[in-house]
Amino acid sequence: MPSASFKDELLAEIRNLRAFAISLSGSVSLADDLVQESLLRAWSNSEKFQPGTSLRAWLFTILRNIYYSNYRKRSREVQDSDGLYARRLTVPGDQESHLDLEDFRQAMTKLPAEQREVLTLIGASGLSYEEAAVVCQVGIGTIKSRLSRARAKLVELLELDEASHPPVERKVRRAG
Protein backbone atom coordinates (compact mmCIF):
# COMPACT_ATOMS: atom_id res chain seq x y z
CA MET A 1 0.00 0.00 0.00
CA PRO A 2 1.37 3.45 -0.88
CA SER A 3 2.70 5.53 1.99
CA ALA A 4 0.81 8.57 3.21
CA SER A 5 3.19 10.93 1.42
CA PHE A 6 3.20 9.06 -1.88
CA LYS A 7 0.24 10.99 -3.25
CA ASP A 8 1.98 14.32 -2.56
CA GLU A 9 5.16 13.06 -4.17
CA LEU A 10 3.26 12.03 -7.29
CA LEU A 11 1.38 15.31 -7.29
CA ALA A 12 4.68 17.19 -7.34
CA GLU A 13 5.76 15.28 -10.45
CA ILE A 14 2.54 15.44 -12.49
CA ARG A 15 3.49 18.54 -14.47
CA ASN A 16 6.88 17.15 -15.45
CA LEU A 17 5.34 13.79 -16.25
CA ARG A 18 2.78 15.46 -18.51
CA ALA A 19 5.43 17.63 -20.20
CA PHE A 20 7.47 14.50 -20.97
CA ALA A 21 4.34 12.73 -22.26
CA ILE A 22 3.49 15.61 -24.61
CA SER A 23 7.08 15.74 -25.87
CA LEU A 24 7.05 12.00 -26.45
CA SER A 25 3.65 11.64 -28.10
CA GLY A 26 3.16 15.06 -29.70
CA SER A 27 -0.43 14.98 -28.49
CA VAL A 28 -2.02 16.58 -25.45
CA SER A 29 -4.98 14.22 -25.37
CA LEU A 30 -2.80 11.13 -25.65
CA ALA A 31 -0.44 12.60 -23.06
CA ASP A 32 -3.26 13.00 -20.54
CA ASP A 33 -4.32 9.38 -21.07
CA LEU A 34 -0.67 8.33 -20.74
CA VAL A 35 -0.20 10.26 -17.49
CA GLN A 36 -3.41 8.85 -16.06
CA GLU A 37 -2.37 5.28 -16.85
CA SER A 38 1.13 5.92 -15.51
CA LEU A 39 -0.17 7.29 -12.22
CA LEU A 40 -2.43 4.28 -11.76
CA ARG A 41 0.45 1.90 -12.47
CA ALA A 42 2.79 3.82 -10.16
CA TRP A 43 0.20 3.76 -7.39
CA SER A 44 -0.40 0.04 -7.63
CA ASN A 45 3.35 -0.67 -7.82
CA SER A 46 4.51 1.85 -5.23
CA GLU A 47 6.38 -0.82 -3.28
CA LYS A 48 8.71 -1.27 -6.26
CA PHE A 49 9.94 2.32 -6.05
CA GLN A 50 13.27 2.48 -4.25
CA PRO A 51 13.42 5.40 -1.80
CA GLY A 52 16.44 7.57 -2.39
CA THR A 53 16.27 7.15 -6.16
CA SER A 54 14.63 9.60 -8.54
CA LEU A 55 10.84 9.35 -8.47
CA ARG A 56 10.77 11.41 -11.67
CA ALA A 57 13.00 8.93 -13.48
CA TRP A 58 10.89 6.03 -12.18
CA LEU A 59 7.66 7.66 -13.38
CA PHE A 60 9.21 8.52 -16.75
CA THR A 61 10.25 4.88 -17.14
CA ILE A 62 6.69 3.71 -16.45
CA LEU A 63 5.21 6.26 -18.84
CA ARG A 64 7.72 5.48 -21.58
CA ASN A 65 7.02 1.74 -21.32
CA ILE A 66 3.28 2.33 -21.60
CA TYR A 67 3.82 4.67 -24.55
CA TYR A 68 5.94 2.27 -26.58
CA SER A 69 3.65 -0.67 -25.72
CA ASN A 70 0.28 0.91 -26.38
CA TYR A 71 0.40 4.44 -27.70
CA ARG A 72 3.13 4.93 -30.25
CA LYS A 73 0.99 3.93 -33.22
CA ARG A 74 -1.87 6.17 -32.10
CA SER A 75 0.44 9.13 -31.62
CA ARG A 76 1.24 9.13 -35.34
CA GLU A 77 -2.44 9.67 -36.03
CA VAL A 78 -3.05 12.35 -33.39
CA GLN A 79 -0.77 15.36 -33.33
CA ASP A 80 -2.71 18.06 -31.52
CA SER A 81 -0.14 19.74 -29.32
CA ASP A 82 -0.29 22.92 -31.43
CA GLY A 83 -3.40 24.05 -29.57
CA LEU A 84 -1.40 24.19 -26.38
CA TYR A 85 0.69 27.06 -27.59
CA ALA A 86 -1.30 30.25 -27.58
CA ARG A 87 1.19 32.45 -29.33
CA ARG A 88 4.51 32.51 -31.05
CA LEU A 89 7.34 33.24 -28.73
CA THR A 90 10.94 34.00 -29.27
CA VAL A 91 13.63 32.74 -27.01
CA PRO A 92 15.96 35.51 -25.92
CA GLY A 93 19.48 34.73 -26.90
CA ASP A 94 22.75 36.26 -25.94
CA GLN A 95 23.54 39.75 -27.04
CA GLU A 96 23.06 38.99 -30.71
CA SER A 97 20.62 36.22 -31.45
CA HIS A 98 17.28 34.69 -30.67
CA LEU A 99 15.41 31.64 -31.87
CA ASP A 100 11.76 31.45 -32.87
CA LEU A 101 10.13 28.96 -30.49
CA GLU A 102 7.56 27.79 -33.01
CA ASP A 103 10.34 26.97 -35.47
CA PHE A 104 12.00 25.02 -32.68
CA ARG A 105 8.81 23.07 -31.88
CA GLN A 106 8.33 22.16 -35.51
CA ALA A 107 11.92 20.98 -35.73
CA MET A 108 11.50 18.87 -32.58
CA THR A 109 8.60 16.97 -34.17
CA LYS A 110 10.90 15.99 -37.03
CA LEU A 111 13.40 14.26 -34.77
CA PRO A 112 13.22 10.48 -34.34
CA ALA A 113 11.38 9.68 -31.08
CA GLU A 114 14.49 8.19 -29.45
CA GLN A 115 16.43 11.40 -30.07
CA ARG A 116 13.58 13.67 -28.99
CA GLU A 117 13.13 11.82 -25.71
CA VAL A 118 16.84 11.94 -24.84
CA LEU A 119 17.01 15.64 -25.65
CA THR A 120 14.00 16.26 -23.41
CA LEU A 121 15.24 14.09 -20.56
CA ILE A 122 18.75 15.54 -20.44
CA GLY A 123 18.24 19.05 -21.73
CA ALA A 124 14.99 19.98 -20.03
CA SER A 125 13.63 17.63 -17.39
CA GLY A 126 16.76 17.61 -15.27
CA LEU A 127 17.66 13.92 -15.44
CA SER A 128 21.29 12.85 -15.36
CA TYR A 129 22.86 10.77 -18.12
CA GLU A 130 22.67 7.77 -15.81
CA GLU A 131 18.97 8.30 -15.07
CA ALA A 132 18.17 8.86 -18.75
CA ALA A 133 19.99 5.61 -19.56
CA VAL A 134 17.77 3.77 -17.08
CA VAL A 135 14.61 5.40 -18.42
CA CYS A 136 15.48 4.56 -22.04
CA GLN A 137 16.97 1.16 -21.14
CA VAL A 138 20.20 1.75 -23.07
CA GLY A 139 23.80 2.47 -22.11
CA ILE A 140 25.13 5.91 -21.26
CA GLY A 141 27.19 5.90 -24.47
CA THR A 142 24.01 5.53 -26.51
CA ILE A 143 22.38 8.36 -24.58
CA LYS A 144 25.32 10.63 -25.39
CA SER A 145 25.28 9.56 -29.02
CA ARG A 146 21.54 10.20 -29.39
CA LEU A 147 21.92 13.57 -27.70
CA SER A 148 24.67 14.59 -30.12
CA ARG A 149 22.65 13.43 -33.09
CA ALA A 150 19.57 15.28 -31.87
CA ARG A 151 21.51 18.52 -31.48
CA ALA A 152 23.18 18.13 -34.86
CA LYS A 153 19.84 17.43 -36.53
CA LEU A 154 18.25 20.50 -34.92
CA VAL A 155 21.18 22.65 -36.02
CA GLU A 156 20.56 21.40 -39.55
CA LEU A 157 16.75 21.77 -39.45
CA LEU A 158 16.93 25.24 -37.95
CA GLU A 159 19.73 26.22 -40.27
CA LEU A 160 21.95 27.26 -37.41
CA ASP A 161 25.06 25.99 -39.08
CA GLU A 162 27.00 29.11 -39.98
CA ALA A 163 29.42 27.18 -42.15
CA SER A 164 26.78 25.97 -44.60
CA HIS A 165 24.28 28.83 -44.57
CA PRO A 166 24.81 32.53 -45.06
CA PRO A 167 23.78 34.49 -41.95
CA VAL A 168 20.94 36.23 -43.80
CA GLU A 169 19.16 32.91 -44.36
CA ARG A 170 19.64 31.54 -40.88
CA LYS A 171 16.82 31.19 -38.36
CA VAL A 172 18.96 32.86 -35.76
CA ARG A 173 18.24 36.44 -36.47
CA ARG A 174 20.77 39.07 -35.76
CA ALA A 175 19.40 41.80 -33.61
CA GLY A 176 19.90 45.41 -34.56
Binding site: M1, P2, K7, L10, L11, I14, R15, N16, R18, A19, I22, S23, D32, V35, Q36, L39, L40, W43, L84, Y85, L89, V91, P92, G93, D94, S97, H98, L99, L101, F104, R105, M108, L119, T120, G123, A124, S125, G139, G141, T142, K144, S145, R146, S148, R149, R151, A152, L154, V155, L158, L160, D161, E162, A163, V172
Partner: protein, 68 residues
Amino acid sequence: MNATRTNKVEALDIAAPDPKAVEAIGRALEAHYASLVQAPLPDKLVELLTRLERDRVSPPPRRPDALG
Protein backbone atom coordinates in the same frame (compact mmCIF):
# COMPACT_ATOMS: atom_id res chain seq x y z
CA MET B 1 38.94 -9.99 -43.01
CA ASN B 2 38.38 -6.50 -41.82
CA ALA B 3 34.76 -6.68 -40.80
CA THR B 4 33.23 -3.66 -39.21
CA ARG B 5 32.54 -4.40 -35.61
CA THR B 6 29.01 -3.65 -34.56
CA ASN B 7 29.07 -1.90 -31.24
CA LYS B 8 26.10 -1.86 -28.90
CA VAL B 9 26.73 1.83 -28.45
CA GLU B 10 25.48 3.78 -31.42
CA ALA B 11 28.48 5.23 -33.20
CA LEU B 12 29.43 8.82 -32.51
CA ASP B 13 30.38 9.80 -36.04
CA ILE B 14 29.03 13.29 -36.21
CA ALA B 15 30.88 16.57 -36.03
CA ALA B 16 30.25 18.72 -32.97
CA PRO B 17 27.93 21.60 -33.86
CA ASP B 18 28.82 25.23 -33.30
CA PRO B 19 28.72 25.87 -29.52
CA LYS B 20 26.59 28.98 -30.07
CA ALA B 21 24.03 26.95 -32.00
CA VAL B 22 23.98 24.33 -29.22
CA GLU B 23 23.43 27.11 -26.69
CA ALA B 24 20.53 28.50 -28.72
CA ILE B 25 18.99 25.04 -28.90
CA GLY B 26 19.43 24.56 -25.17
CA ARG B 27 17.63 27.81 -24.41
CA ALA B 28 14.81 27.02 -26.84
CA LEU B 29 14.43 23.53 -25.38
CA GLU B 30 14.18 24.89 -21.85
CA ALA B 31 11.61 27.49 -22.93
CA HIS B 32 9.60 24.87 -24.83
CA TYR B 33 9.61 22.46 -21.88
CA ALA B 34 8.77 25.22 -19.40
CA SER B 35 5.71 26.11 -21.47
CA LEU B 36 4.59 22.47 -21.27
CA VAL B 37 5.21 22.28 -17.51
CA GLN B 38 3.29 25.51 -16.92
CA ALA B 39 0.33 24.56 -19.13
CA PRO B 40 -2.99 24.23 -17.27
CA LEU B 41 -3.34 20.81 -15.68
CA PRO B 42 -6.54 18.87 -16.38
CA ASP B 43 -8.62 18.38 -13.22
CA LYS B 44 -8.97 14.66 -13.92
CA LEU B 45 -5.30 14.01 -13.14
CA VAL B 46 -5.36 15.62 -9.71
CA GLU B 47 -8.78 14.09 -9.01
CA LEU B 48 -7.41 10.66 -9.81
CA LEU B 49 -4.75 10.97 -7.11
CA THR B 50 -7.28 12.34 -4.63
CA ARG B 51 -9.52 9.34 -5.29
CA LEU B 52 -6.66 6.86 -4.96
CA GLU B 53 -5.59 8.45 -1.67
CA ARG B 54 -9.16 8.42 -0.34
CA ASP B 55 -9.54 4.75 -1.22
CA ARG B 56 -6.21 4.02 0.51
CA VAL B 57 -7.36 5.63 3.76
CA SER B 58 -10.84 4.13 3.67
CA PRO B 59 -11.25 1.48 1.00
CA PRO B 60 -14.63 1.56 -0.71
CA PRO B 61 -17.08 -0.90 0.91
CA ARG B 62 -18.09 -3.97 -1.02
CA ARG B 63 -21.43 -3.50 -2.63
CA PRO B 64 -24.11 -5.41 -0.71
CA ASP B 65 -25.64 -6.59 -3.96
CA ALA B 66 -22.34 -8.25 -4.87
CA LEU B 67 -23.20 -10.95 -2.34
CA GLY B 68 -26.33 -11.81 -4.29
